[in-house]
Every structure is written in C-alpha cells, then in structure tokens.
Symmetry: C2
Amino acid sequence: MARATIFDVAELAGVSIKTVSRVVNREPNVRASTRERVEKAVAELSYRPDQSARNLASHRSHLIGLVYDDPAAYELPSAGYVISMQQGVLSACRSGLAELLIHPCNYRQKDVGAQLKSLIAETRPAGIIVAAPLSNMPKIVRAIEETGTPIVRISTGSKSGKQYSVATNDRDVCAEMTCYLASLGHKRIAFITGDPNHKAVAQRFTGYQDGLEQSGLKFSDRLVVAGDNSFGSGEACGEELLKRKNPPTAIFAANDDMAAGVVRVADRLGIEVPAQLSVAGFDDTALARQLYPSLTTIRQPLEEMAERAATMLLQGKCEDADADAKGTEIVPATIQIRESTGPAPG
Amino acid sequence: MARATIFDVAELAGVSIKTVSRVVNREPNVRASTRERVEKAVAELSYRPDQSARNLASHRSHLIGLVYDDPAAYELPSAGYVISMQQGVLSACRSGLAELLIHPCNYRQKDVGAQLKSLIAETRPAGIIVAAPLSNMPKIVRAIEETGTPIVRISTGSKSGKQYSVATNDRDVCAEMTCYLASLGHKRIAFITGDPNHKAVAQRFTGYQDGLEQSGLKFSDRLVVAGDNSFGSGEACGEELLKRKNPPTAIFAANDDMAAGVVRVADRLGIEVPAQLSVAGFDDTALARQLYPSLTTIRQPLEEMAERAATMLLQGKCEDADADAKGTEIVPATIQIRESTGPAPG
DNA sequence: GTGAAAGCGCTAACAC
DNA sequence: GTGTTAGCGCTTTCAC
C-alpha cells in the first residue's frame, strides 16, 4: 500500500485538497463538522503530510537549526550543555510540528560562514538558534543574517538589542553567589576566569566584582587567576592560589569544570573542602552533583532558554527586520547550594 | 538577489538542467569539460540544490534519523553517550552530503511506535540508526521496519543476524578487565549489574563470569549486586558490599556512573582507593577522567560505531530485505587503565 | 553524452 | 466556508 496523499484524504472526506490542507495546518475558516470529517479520514488513512512537498511549496521548512560550538573540537564536558539545549528545542518542536536539525560547528575554521550558508540554502530552516559562545561572534551571526533566516541567539550576559535573544542574568547571579560566600564570613574570595572568547564568562567576572562591592570587600587582582574553562586549568589555577602564604578561603570558578579541578587539587594538597576552603562553580553540570563534596554552583536554565528560543521562532515572532521589535528575554539562573561551601575557617 | 536555481546554473553553463543535475549528484556520463563548466557556474552563483525539491522528486531525503533513549526520561549523565553518537553520525554525514535529524524517544510511552512512524512518514529519512538500548526492543525496531526504511542498529552484545547492526565486544572486554583485576592479585572481585532492560549490560555480566573462569577464580553470586545504572545505585551497592565482614578487594561496575558511586562511598567509609579497594567501570565517560582517583574503565568506540552505521546507510548498503546479506560489524572496545585500580591489599 | 517533458505532494492566491 | 489553478525546484523516464 502506497502512502496516502492529500488527494486520498480529500476524496475520502468528500472535500477539496485545500480544505484538507486547512485542517492539517490548523487554519481557521473550516466548519467544525467538515473538520471532523477530514480528521477522521486522516486517521483512517494514517495520512502524514510530506514535509518535502510542504517545504517546497511554502519556501520554508519546519526545521529548526541549532548551531553550537562543536564539542569535539576540544573537551567533552560540554556534553551536558549541548544536550540540555537540544532537549529544550525538542520540547518546543513537539508542540510546534517541527523537527530539529543540529549543527555543531567549529568557529576556528575559516569557512564557517560559508558552511552555515550552505546548510541554510539546502535545508531552508524556519529559523536558527545560535548558542553561546557562537552567538557572540559577529562572523557567525552575520553569516546567518545575510541569508534572511530568522535567528535567535542564546546568549548570555550582554543584551545586544540588535537581534532577538534569550539570555540569563549571569552577572547578577554571580554577584549573589559572591555575597553568599561573603555572608559565610569569607574575606579572601578568589575568582578563576574562563575562556576570553566566551563573553558570558566575562560577565560572571563582573558579577563577582559587583558582589564584592555589595559585601563591602575590596577587589584585588591578586585574587584573580585566568583559566580557560577546562578541568586542567582549574587544577593549575587552584594550585597557584592554594600554595600562597596567605591563600584564599573561598574560590569561585567561572564554570564547574574548573571548580572541579580546584576541588581535586585541594584534595591532593590535603586541604579540606569545605572546612578549610569553600569552592563554587557555575553551570550545574552533572559533574557538580557527583563530585565529592558535591559542588555549590549556579544552575543555568539552559533547557528553558532553548525552549523559549525555539518557541519564538516557531511562532514567527522573529520574521521582521524591524530592529525596534527585537529584544532579549531573560530567564533567571539560580544558586544551588551543596556541600562544597561552608563557613570561613577560624 | 533571489537564490539561484538549477535553471540559472544551466543557463550560465549553457547546458540543460539535467546535466546540471548529473554533475551535482556526481552521476557518470558527463564529459569532463562539460562538468567543469557546470561546476564553475555552480560556484559563481553559489548554487545549492534545494533539499526539499530534491526529496520530493526522488521520494527520499538525505536525512539520517538518529533514534535513542530520551535522556531526559531519567538522569542526565548519558549526555556523553548521546553526544558521541551524534558526532559519529555527523562526521559520516559531512562526507556524504546528508544531514542529521535527532529523535530521542521514551520507550516507556505506549505510542512510541506510532511516533516513529509519523516521524518517518513526514521526513522520509534515507535511513534510521537506532541506538542501544532501544535497538534491542522489538517494538521499536519493528515499527521502523514496517515503514520499509533502512535501519542500522547500534547494538551491543548479541549479534542478532536479522538486521544490520554495529556492535562492540562488551563480553570479551569485560572478561579481559576481570582477568586484569585477577592479575593484580584480587581474589574477591565483586560485580554490580545494571539496568536489566539494557542487554549490553547483561553481556558485561557474562563477560565478568568468563573472566573469573579464565583466571581460575570461582563465581559466587554473593559477590554480585544489582544496580540500575545510576550513580545513586552505585553508592547503595558499594555500601552494601563494603560493609560486609569480608568485603571484596575489587569492584567492577557495569558502568561508570555506578563505579563513581562506589568511589564516593569508599571515600565516605574511609576506604582508600586503590590501596584498599580497586574500582573499575565501563563507558569511559568524561566523569571517569575527572574523578579522583581517576577511573579505570572500558572505552566504548561509540563515535566510530555511529560513524560506521551512518556510512552503511549512506552507501545504500541496507536497502535490500535479503536477510543473508545482513550482518553485524564489530568495533572493539578497549581497556583504559587509570588510578582507581591497583594491587590487591596484603 | 545530453536534453525535453512530466510529475513528486503540497501551499498560495484568488475565485466563488 | 470552500474549491481551482498554478507553480515550488528538483528527479525521472525516455528520446535523441
């Protein structure tokens, strides 16, 4: 049995194909009784509209493209980050009759822009979601914009009002975390910065400074060490900080992987966490819960952010090039207090 | 400027659209000089064939569907598993002009079969890759088979010769790991089993038994405890084993998450790893390297397996229903020795 | 080797 | 409210 087409359904329901199309696409202007007849025919023939035909005729697909930094390009731990976003987009897709096309890409390659344009030309997605840190790279964003495809950035930090984006309050929540550490009696709170390409990570540093100020502590760049977002760099930075004559009593790392590195190095140096040292991270990766002691961290609402982004796209809210209408939705991050932080020693 | 169509290219190259089609699809029977002219025109217009039109006309898409167990359905740590497979499929897609459509699905839902059929009817993928454990579930595999779509199972363990599949040697490598532990002098080697729905995990248990036998140790079901693949169950099983009067000196868990649970519980009980207890896992997740002590485990060649599967599909090797031609490719797993295993105490 | 014509299954624009 | 008619941009015959 060949698969049913819109003609088969129309015939069985005794209507024209246009009416079937209306019903399938949930358009208005169909009498309830007609709608029912059509729906019955659809069910009976287990009719599914062919997406290719649909896309071809309508000049758009029902595909959402999700573009993110290729995790294979360096380390694996961003797996959770990617999966969360995929989940978010997928749940929006399920209620929006769409499918998800994933496209990890390596921004270090010269021709990323061209690659993205090819992808778009071939698949004509209904919209593209670009995740951080790519969402902050002009060459990526511009390449997509040039195709005229609606784009939503999952960004972080800065509200650049030029495009639609979904962001979280990295800065504020980092200030909050810093205040929390200060409230535990810590006076020397160190910060490990991350990959400078990652704008969000820079925002976290600013938030740390805000938090110090709000807590009446004064900022010292001696307490700031530069990591690169990796576990290994967390170990290195942690070691440097902890081997000083007057080491910090709390270390706040710009992501969980680096925080995990600090915990590991503390263990090796015989420094007890949290009795002698408090450690906080950012991201709330699976690692954070499984570490011993489990990590106090900040949960980014990635899944929700991705879902919002996909919904914006599917509702067609991002079609117009009208800059005024564009805006940033903020989905707040939340602090997760676990075992790695406690009262300052002494 | 509207995007170029096959007509524009044909006109610029001074040939018919059919010839352009031949060049683009790498078909034979085109004179080299003609091919060149067409390629030049393609480049000049940056022509990209519209996939929708292509699919519509050819009754097939260039999409590969990847179906796997929805990680949101329970815990997050399978993120690495999913990402690895996606990477593998993507690298095959890049050289095969295809795109990847991901479809996590929850096998606990009654209508998974119908959902899969809808997906297939709508997107008409060139083929479907089903990952373990779904690849061992008849209702899933059958639903896909009924649509006539080529399918490759990423399986594990059993070579069920009925379908094309890519598998790894779970059983053999677990025997090897067990022998390795025995060679370190361990006599009481415990095993933590996993989710019974996961056939591969059952194979691991069989491999453990093989390994004991090969090492001249006798199997005792007192040394076998049932986990459910989660970190928490690893903690629980580890605690049960370690609180005995005559505890095992080595624990081999059917996956890394459970092994991590054992390490954590050992730490809490003041048992040193690996001095007093050796712990081994399976999967080589990111966690394995980041744990302290880092985990001796088994690396599954997931990415390679997924790439093989996608390549099989893209080469059209899975079209015929001829059962004889079908077979299982084996990609071997390898032992990764790290810090969590060492000589037996005493 | 190359080309002409006929669709693929749908949506869009308009008529009724 | 509903139907008619043209395509969308390709691949597929099959003819040359």
